[in-house]
Subunit: 353 residues, 2 copies
DNA sequence: ACCGTTCGCGGACACGTGTCCGCGTCAATA
DNA sequence: TATTGACGCGGACACGTGTCCGCGAACGGT
């Protein structure tokens, strides 16, 4: 029955003193209960906790922290919330931190606003700061220096090659090696590399992996790869991949394998191939990267690389929380996480002909 | 050249007094600069700001807030970070709030832990709390009552039907009406409803929309719909949709239109149809809901409903921030946002035969 | 040399909490 | 009844900041 709709008359309790009075206790006694100090009558504890539940009173965190209590808060800087893998990492990190008793303060860094965001975190006396995603290297290095000056530990997830940065990151080169070996085993010898041409550091790693895999089989990397330069704006990866694949299909000699920078690009390429009447995987193979949900949903499903997000995040959290009491390291901590190949329906034997 | 790797000797400035000393100013003067008080020599302001930039000092936010300064922080409770539309709303809300000078405190509510999370927000003296997603009604109603008792305004996004809750929500019934009218206009008269059968409140609304659209054309809703009950666990929506569609395909009389609860379910159904040799949209039509990225990436792309997320979020933010100074409303604020049909390649004329 | 103005100084108080400590109360025990 | 714990009381201080206020130094104009 909709009986109790009067939502507790606004208690307006502003501090422990006001809270303690109607309970018939002293402010200090309440404080002792809240902080679990010994030497208290169990009935007193019970009384306080019941009043706490009834009034919904929450002691002022700012005063507590001012008095030196730990904030138990980690600041997390995201590049954006549009990249599914980054959001997955965020979600898992948040869960791990919460399980260990830490709250998360999440901010999206608009390019150029990094300074203010980190300042805000420092001002809130966050115990550590995590960066997830790809940022402008100079800017993030400056932020990391600020954190260091402040004695606050930091960690960067998935952005290798930053000077002075502690990093946990997927071994993207190894990921590309796994993709290429899979394709090579299937007999492929000519490859279109979609979206791997230029850009942030994470692509250099990728290209390194591609070259390494090819050269390990005695192949000339330049001779057997096609790297289309699609000059238009890269608005979304699906269309980008579609356009890249189209420009490859316009060539006289078509490669048999299309290697995408990520799953969206791979799916865009898949679409372009299907539109051109090329059957996948019979006539050509397609691979993605990241093992997103979508890679399972297409027809055919896409062969891709799983990031081992759980390993990444727990490694990151373990290390970071282990640093909390410690003095800051002088040498940065760098760790890479091995990826895992997930074979889908989009790859098959190279067409012999 | 990698010259300046020494990242500013840890300044270890702990308060404005320590900060002010080397600048050669009094603590109070620095405080006045920081708070933009009048009557200060421009050169003094300049000096302080340079020192601020050099040392990276950030005054203790806890002390500031304790002294009564606004926290300018909004707490956001998420059901999870796995639902793409919810994450989109979060991202947009975060951006809007930041543009208006508010920080966001984001927490994921594990079922049952709502109490602690809201307490934490209250303890941090958040100025308002937003809930995004679907929650256990009783639990969230209890949280809302707590917030009310505390004098903190709240807003729920996309969860209609909560007692005492201020809500901004998509008009899902209207969304279903739009889908059904689109299909009816194409000549469809028999519909499989996938994932709409039972569950949270948001589905009742949907079913209402479906019935309304059918009855407006003088059709018997029960006679022309098939609602498969797939009893297996609903692990992920893609497989769920695939299984639901399979069970429909096993029937003697197959419907011509497959109406999915969301895009993933629609894409799962699409896959099942393609596997069964049914060509879409020639032999059957498929619709989704939410207009996620994926709906554009499949072959064929999926006809779906756009949530107008931007309108939803700006409406929410406008109203909520407008409430801040005000006394709490006694009657809840409820507003629905109209959806928008996005026609893709997955719908076509009903096959006459 | 005198005066008024401008502006920084520094003491004081408040915000809400944790913690310490001496004191009072009450009940159980000798 | 006298003694001893057990336990709650309430005063005091600290944490870092914003703000108020009276004071004094420096400066420019007469």
């Amino acid at each position: 029955m909709p009986a109790r709709r009067q939502p507790l008359p606004p208690s307006g309790i502003r501090n422990t003193a006001e809270f303690a009075r109607p309970v018939g206790l002293a402010r200090t006694t309440v404080s002792r209960v809240l902080n679990g100090q010994p030497g208290l009558d169990p009935r007193t504890i019970e009384r306080v906790q019941r009043a706490l539940a009834e009034t919904g009173f929450a002691p002022n965190a700012h005063a507590m922290h001012l008095k030196g209590k730990r904030t138990a808060t980690i600041g997390i800087c995201m590049e954006d919330l549009a990249t599914p893998t980054a959001v997955s990492k965020l979600a898992m990190l948040q869960r791990v931190l919460r399980a260990r008793g830490f709250a998360s303060l999440i901010e999206v860094l608009p390019p150029g606003a990094g300074r203010e965001v980190v300042r805000h975190f420092l001002s809130l006396r966050v115990e550590a700061v995590v960066f997830i995603g790809h940022f402008v290297p100079e800017e993030i290095e400056a932020r990391i220096a600020e954190l260091g000056a402040n004695g606050t530990p930091h960690l960067v997830i998935d952005h290798l090659g930053l000077r002075g940065a502690n990093t946990v990151s997927l071994d993207r080169a190894a990921g590309m090696v796994a993709v290429m070996e899979h394709l090579l085993d299937l007999g492929h010898r000519s490859f279109a590399l979609l979206g791997l041409s230029k850009g942030p550091v994470s692509r250099h790693d990728r290209m390194r992996g591609v070259r390494a895999a090819l050269e390990a089989r005695g192949l000339d990397a330049d001779a057997c790869t096609v790297v289309p330069d699609y000059l238009h704006e890269r608005r979304n990866d699906f269309d980008y991949g579609r356009n890249l694949a189209r420009s490859v299909l316009a060539r006289a000699a078509r490669p048999t394998a299309y290697v995408g920078y990520n799953d969206e690009i791979a799916i865009g390429a898949l679409r372009a191939l299907q539109e051109a009447g090329v059957r996948v995987p019979r006539d050509a193979s397609v691979t993605g990267f990241n093992h997103q949900e979508i890679s399972r949903m297409t027809v055919p499903s896409v062969t891709t690389i799983d990031q081992n997000i759980e390993t990444t995040v727990t490694t990151a959290a373990d290390w970071l929380l282990g640093q909390l009491g410690q003095p800051l390291r002088s040498r940065p901590f760098v760790r890479t996480i091995p990826p895992r190949l997930v074979v889908g329906e989009s790859t098959g034997p190279a067409r012999s002909g």
